[in-house]
């Protein structure tokens, strides 16, 4: 019977606790009524006294475990999370006694969950030192009431042992009169006690081990410290002491007490200017150099976090670089420290070669970016990309503008810009300002080299890839390098996103190819369609960049391997390219266009990682995707050709094939199709795309 307040009254959730309470109280009452009188007479009055005390203890702990606030965190104010919510990475690293611990962003409560905190879906609250949600007490067990829960288990075990033993003594003395009421009742009570003894004993033993090890049920069950070190342990004795003897923690959800008024009245005292010396910190990546003027302290904090080793990213969220970067609007870093950003710093230096100048030249509206960019050196450029990431909506207008200026734009200008903007949005906050800035350059310098091509592709992985976008005139080597680096990040992260972006990218390219008109009507909707999930996909779960270092190194190596492989394959696989290019059905099947007719449609599934192999095995089952396939194939061509022009070696296998096609013929001959499929099944090649996304493509 749902009530209007939205909190439904679910009677079912009270069943376990009612049952437990009924059994406990009922059985014990029966024991006292039927068994104890005889025991008092025969053995001693201490028996009921002892049992009474134990029972009282059980009840008290049960009540406290049931009714006590486990340590619920109140929801964070809007002010606190305004910078964190959409641009925040999913995880934030914190070092506890030398061990890296991840703090996850709680989308419901709007803060990064403190260590050991977890969100209880039943109670819909984040609970401090979350142990588990116990249905038998219908309450979460957390920091404040764990002790009472543990004592409840201990005392219940003792109580059950006592009831069972005394009942057994009674029954053994009344063997000949088993049918009498008292004996029968005692037998029943003994049965209940015996029945629940095993599970209760088991649970008690389990928690005794947990207490000794200093772990929570949640940590034990999720295997957090399996094989690792538990940073929260204080030694066995310390842990037991902590559980049993620590002071009762305070409640966080008290009613706000009336605070005494404090008058805030200007004029305000300001510290001396000398106290506000701002030191510029110039670091290798230049990022800090820019920021330092505004957020030196933030950087200090960030520095601390730089030492954190990267943690594995969430595969489905690779968004965002966090906060400080995002607030680039005013070119100043907020005081918030975002561990993800520092981690990226380490891998930025290689981007330094990308001239920042391009940003300005673009004359882009990215006003905030421009000013920031001016300050930065070349290396700062990478950093700049980060802030841009955070403002997904931002780019739309400039994109349009830039698009139109591009000679590449055909009649599909609006589509292009739309798709670009869609792409922008799809990115996890690509650098907004940068993309528009990029456009003019792309137009002027390399008409064919679509702005989108290598750069946009690289964007897929997120902020990092935008750099190449911004500087279309960057030498291929540099661009590749940038992309490589970005790819590193991407590899770790979100291959799923890459395909989508690629689709978007391909659209404009396709238009350029001029088969566009035929497909343009198809594209926008697709683009839109494709676009839509991304923001939704991304927003709730930002990605961490913390593990960039490892990811990047891995992807660099991977890329090298792929390049070598590609070179080899190019020599061998020319014939295959046509097949790829032209068989749109093949594409759909092979590249997981199935989802959305988007080249590896990431959000839809683990496409990028191994789509082709699955698809190829499926043949061409994607009928819905079929209609779109022609456009895709064309897109691929354009994409490939663009890529090729930019000389990006990172194209994956299929792309590689496309590359050949693109160079030679935009319309691959159909006869090649037949040979394609078998070859497709032959190898599964892991390829890193321009954007750095890694695909497994069967070549």
């Amino acid at each position: 019977m749902p009530d209007s307040a939205g909190k439904r009254f679910k009677p079912t959730k009270y069943i376990p606790v009612s049952t437990a309470a009924a059994l406990l109280v009922g059985s014990t009452t029966l024991f006292f009524v039927f068994t104890c009188p005889w025991l008092t007479k025969v053995i001693s009055p201490a028996v009921p006294l002892y049992n009474g005390l134990v029972f009282l203890f059980v009840l008290a702990n049960f009540s406290l475990a049931t009714f006590m606030d486990p340590g619920v965190y109140p929801r964070a104010d809007e002010d606190e999370d305004k910078d964190d919510d959409f641009r925040a990475p999913l995880y934030k690293n914190v070092e506890i006694k030398g061990i890296q611990v991840r703090m996850k962003w709680c989308a419901t409560c709007h803060f990064y969950r403190p260590p050991r905190c977890s969100h209880c879906s039943v109670c819909d609250n984040c609970v401090e030192d979350f142990d588990h949600h116990c249905p038998w007490v219908n309450n979460c067990i957390g920091r404040r009431n764990y002790r009472y829960f543990f004592l409840f288990l201990l005392s219940l075990t003792i109580h059950m042992v006592g009831v069972f033993s005394f009942g057994l003594i009674f029954v053994l003395h009344h063997r000949e009169r088993l049918a009498t009421l008292h004996t029968t009742v005692t037998l029943v009570v003994m049965c209940i006690a015996g029945l629940f003894f095993i599970p209760v004993m088991g649970l008690t033993g389990f928690h005794m081990v947990l207490v000794a090890r200093g772990r929570t049920t949640n940590e034990q069950v999720t295997g957090k410290f399996r094989g690792g070190v538990n940073p929260f342990t204080r030694g066995c004795c310390g842990n037991v002491e902590y559980v049993l003897c620590s002071p009762l923690a305070p409640r966080y959800t008290l009613d706000p007490r009336k605070k005494p008024h404090v008058k805030i009245q200007p004029p305000f005292i300001r510290p001396d200017l000398s106290d506000r010396q701002i030191t510029i910190k110039v670091s290798d990546n230049g990022i800090q150099g820019i920021i330092s003027s505004k957020s030196k302290c933030s950087l200090d904090g960030l520095d601390d976090k730089e030492t954190q080793p990267p943690l594995p990213p969430k595969a489905d969220r690779y968004n965002q670089l966090k906060g400080p970067v995002t607030s680039s609007e005013d070119s100043s870093l907020s005081g918030k420290t975002h561990p993800s950003t520092p981690a990226m710093y380490k891998y930025r230096p290689s981007f330094g070669t990308i001239p920042k100048v391009h940003y300005h030249a673009a004359g882009e509206k990215v006003s905030h970016d421009t000013s920031a960019i001016l300050e930065e050196g070349v290396r700062g450029h990478d950093y700049r990309s980060e802030p841009n990431l955070d403002l997904p909506e931002y780019t739309n207008t400039p994109l349009h503008r830039s698009f139109q200026s591009s000679p590449l734009q055909l009649d599909s200008d609006p589509i292009n810009s739309r798709s670009l903007s869609l792409k922008q949005q799809g990115h996890r906050r690509p650098e907004k300002g940068q993309l528009p800035a990029l456009q003019p350059h792309a137009v002027t310098s390399t008409p064919y080299k679509s702005v989108f091509s290598p750069n946009t592709l690289s964007n897929r992985n997120g902020s990092l890839s935008y750099d190449s976008l911004l500087n279309p005139s960057i030498s291929p080597a540099t661009a590749n390098e940038c992309m490589a680096h970005r790819g590193m990040h991407a590899t770790g992260f979100h291959s799923p996103y890459l395909p989508t972006k690629m689709c978007h990218i391909r659209e404009p390219e396709m238009q350029r190819q001029q088969v566009a008109t035929a497909y343009s009507p198809v594209m926008p909707p697709r683009g839109m369609g494709r676009q839509s999930p991304h923001p939704r996909d991304r927003d709730p779960s930002p990605v961490r960049y913390d593990n960039l270092s490892q990811t990047i190194m891995a992807s660099i190596q991977e890329r090298k391997e792929i390049e070598e492989r590609e070179k080899r394959q190019m020599l061998q696989g020319r014939s295959q390219t046509h097949i790829y290019a032209q068989d749109s059905g093949v594409f759909d099947g092979g590249y997981v266009l199935s989802h959305n007719a988007c080249y590896p449609d990431g959000p839809r599934g683990p496409v990028s990682r191994g789509p082709t192999s699955t698809n190829s095995s499926q043949g061409r089952p994607h009928s819905p995707a079929m209609p779109r396939s022609p456009s895709y194939s064309h897109q691929k061509f354009s994409y490939i050709s663009a890529l090729e022009r930019t000389d990006s070696p990172r194209l994956g296998g299929p792309r590689e094939a496309m590359k050949v096609n693109g160079q030679t013929d935009c319309h691959p001959s159909t006869h090649q199709g037949a040979t394609h499929s078998p070859s497709r099944h032959s190898n599964v090649k892991k390829v890193t795309g321009v954007g750095g996304t890694t695909y497994e493509i069967s070549v």
Binding site: L59, V94, Y242, L248, P250, I264, P267, P271, C297
Partner: protein, 158 residues
């Protein structure tokens, strides 16, 4: 206008909330309550570093005292057990006592140090002890913007 005194809780005729800084927890020593003493950049132009650090260090000390496992906490635990926890109905736990001390300290700091500088500290307990929230106020009379605190430095209080 600038010289009028207004209760912070009421309409602020002379000062407006410009920004909030959040001092995060320092988890380097585990889950014991401790706040980072790192000086936030937004406060660079508003308060001396030493004053801020003193405040945070004192708060950290208070929390450490509250969470200390020692004689008093043993006693409290035993007493609570013995009375079937009925003692919680009448007595204030040690932590609560220290929290009251902390509230008083924050109030005093606000009155003496922070309010004259246009800042206000919010008791961390209201935020679940996850952050110390410092509200930054601007002189409304001299500056129309209520954006970043860094812009406040441009506006001089009269």
């Amino acid at each position: 206008m600038a010289t009028e005194f207004h209760n912070l809780q009421e309409l602020r005729h002379s000062a407006s909330l410009a920004n909030k800084v959040f001092v995060q927890r320092d988890y380097s020593e585990g889950t014991t309550c401790k706040f980072q003493t790192k000086f936030p950049s937004e406060l660079e132009s508003r308060i001396e570093r030493t004053l801020f650090e003193d405040t945070v260090k004192t708060l950290n000390n208070y929390y450490a005292e509250a969470e200390k496992i020692g004689g008093q906490s043993y006693l409290e635990g035993c007493l609570a057990c013995a009375t079937a926890y009925l003692i919680f109905l009448c007595m204030e736990t040690r932590y609560e006592k220290v929290l009251k001390k902390i509230a008083k300290y924050i109030q005093e700091q606000n009155e003496k140090v922070y309010a004259p500088r246009g800042l206000l500290i919010t008791d961390p307990i209201e935020r679940g002890m996850r952050v110390i929230e410092i509200s930054i106020y601007e002189d409304r009379g001299s500056s129309g913007s209520s954006s970043g605190s860094s812009s406040v430095s441009g506006s001089t209080a009269r």
